[in-house]
């Protein structure tokens, strides 16, 4: 039994079927990369896993339990599954520190005093100790994105989803955010990344999945998928992007 497994997940927006039966297995500690053209359904798939979008058919098993069962309260599940968005989505009216503390305070009922030490440790771990009390508009894109990652980590999720978290960044800021992912991977965090950073996927992914029009057309370890893609469409996509 995998840590997370998707079984024939489908999802439509009105007439537009965006996920057309997705099967995916993610083992504990794995980094899985989703690649594919714009509009192929990467973001939608991640939002479905985190239950931000309800799925139409299929099952999402987290440690064997179907979390997508209609009628289940999504909130306990979301505590276990962190997500970071392309556009950071920090709360602009709160300092970085307050952004990170809000959910643990409200959801886990912890006090600021209880949270101070662990949260400061998180900021320090990702090189933001000096920026804790800054507001989002006083931070660079790369710093904001790292705060968003810290915010998700502060809920102590078992798995993290990253939706093209470097796409909105200036090229010179991409590295600092990818370093955070390297660090998390080394610490054994389970994660799924939608990404256009093929070099990064090749370097670190345990598995790469090529999404095409709502299906996982091909998947495998990066050395296989990048070096010897089996499908014509995968080859075409890779040759366009590399």
């Amino acid at each position: 039994m995998s840590f997370l497994s998707l079984r024939s997940v489908t999802k439509s927006f009105a007439e537009n079927q965006v996920c057309k039966g997705i099967d995916l297995e993610v083992e504990k500690g794995q980094m899985v990369c989703l690649i594919g053209a714009s509009g192929s359904g990467k973001s939608t798939l991640l939002r479905c896993i985190n239950l931000l979008e309800p799925i139409d058919e299929g099952a999402i098993l987290l440690e064997g339990t179907d979390i997508a069962e209609p009628g289940l309260d999504p909130r306990p599940v979301r505590e276990r599954i962190g997500i970071v968005f392309q556009s950071y989505n920090l709360f602009p009216h709160m300092s970085a520190m307050e952004n990170v503390m809000l959910a643990p305070r409200r959801v886990h009922r912890k006090t600021r005093a209880q949270l101070k030490a662990p949260v400061e440790a998180l900021f320090a771990r990702f090189g933001l100790a000096e920026r804790m009390h800054h507001y989002p508009d006083q931070l660079s894109g790369g710093q904001q994105q790292r705060v968003a990652i810290i915010r998700a980590l502060a809920m102590q999720p078992q798995i993290m989803l990253f939706d093209e978290i470097t796409s909105a960044l200036d090229p010179e800021l991409v590295g600092e955010v990818l370093d955070v992912l390297r660090q998390l991977h080394a610490e054994g965090m389970t994660m799924i990344l939608a990404t256009h950073e093929m070099g990064f996927a090749r370097e670190l992914a345990d598995k790469v999945c090529f999404l095409d029009a709502g299906r996982i057309l091909e998947e495998g370890p990066p050395e296989q998928l990048f070096a010897a893609p089996q499908q014509e469409r995968t080859r075409a996509f890779l040759s366009r992007i590399l």
Binding site: R47, N50, L52, P74, R75, P76, R78, E79, G82, I83, F85, S87, N89, L90, F91, P92, H93, L102, A103, R106, V107, R151, A152, M155
Partner: protein, 278 residues
């Protein structure tokens, strides 16, 4: 690149811009002076000017009535002061009613929508008459028959409908991704509203609400129709006593002394907000 020393005086560009500024200021002053002179010279040439001056701009009458007017204006301010916080609270409640998503709470949503539709659809004076004369007509004992209470209630009902709409537009202006980010952390809808959406929404609508509260301060004068002796009513009393309209001009001046700075401040806040978003 050569190491030219930074010039100590103003740059050529700064000098040029200063010259342009001086010229614009001169032109503006001249044209304003011309218009003012025309008004000062031409208006008194009108045949009825002497009569108008005597009954609307009468110095002695103004001097005699101004302190009394000012005193009556305190009543306007007091009515405003107890209505404003109640409006703010009621408006917030109505705005939140209109945002609830749970089907069991649909009646709240309906109530919010009906409330704002009805009270924004009626003339203020009409509501003041209906409530201000209607409710005391029930024969309530003192002090519950006071026009101060029911007149204030009319203002509160109407203005909270407008303020609620402004707050709701503020809530809707917060991007969906903020809700998603909050929900993704396991936050409840209520906490998301309270800690993420509302603080941003309320901040965004401060200028619009200021304009509404300025309008409220003016509309307090409408309560004079059902009894309270506030500045408009007091001016009317003076007018009858002295057979002169100058007290109304005095009242207008008192209102403007408050509303112009407040409106300017609201405009300033609005402009600053636009710049921030810009």
């Amino acid at each position: 690149m050569t190491d030219k020393a930074v010039p100590s005086g103003p740059t050529r560009r700064a000098l040029y811009e200063a010259r342009i500024r001086r010229r614009s200021a001169l032109i503006a002053t001249l044209s304003t002076a011309l218009v003012l002179a025309a008004i000062i010279i031409l208006v008194p040439m009108a045949p009825g000017w002497e009569a108008v001056k005597k009954s609307f701009f009468n110095g002695p009458v103004l001097a005699k009535t101004f302190p009394g007017l000012l005193n009556a204006f305190l009543m306007d301010v007091a009515i405003f002061a107890w209505c404003a916080p109640l409006i703010a609270v009621l408006a917030l409640v109505i705005a939140l009613c209109r945002d609830v998503r749970a089907p069991a709470l649909f009646p709240l949503r309906l109530f919010g929508a009906l409330y704002t539709d009805i009270f924004r659809g009626l003339p203020v004076v009409l509501v003041i008459y209906l409530i201000g004369f209607g409710v005391p007509g029930l024969g309530l004992p003192r002090p519950w028959n006071s026009p101060y209470i029911w007149g204030s209630l009319a203002l509160i009902l109407i203005y909270s409908a407008y303020v609620a709409e402004v707050i709701r537009s503020g809530i809707e202006s917060i991007h969906q991704s903020q809700r998603a980010a909050s929900a993704s952390l396991g936050m409840s809808d209520a906490d998301t509203m309270r800690f993420v959406i509302l603080p941003q929404a309320l901040r965004n609508v401060v200028p619009s609400n200021m304009n509404l509260f300025i309008a409220l301060q003016k509309d307090v004068a409408l309560l004079s129709f059902i009894g309270p002796v506030e500045i408009f009513r007091q001016a009317g009393v003076y007018k009858s006593l002295m057979a002169n309209f100058t007290p109304y001009v005095g009242a207008a001046v008192i209102f403007l002394a408050l509303t112009i700075p407040a409106t300017r401040y609201a405009d300033y806040l609005m402009a600053r907000q636009r710049r921030r978003r810009g």
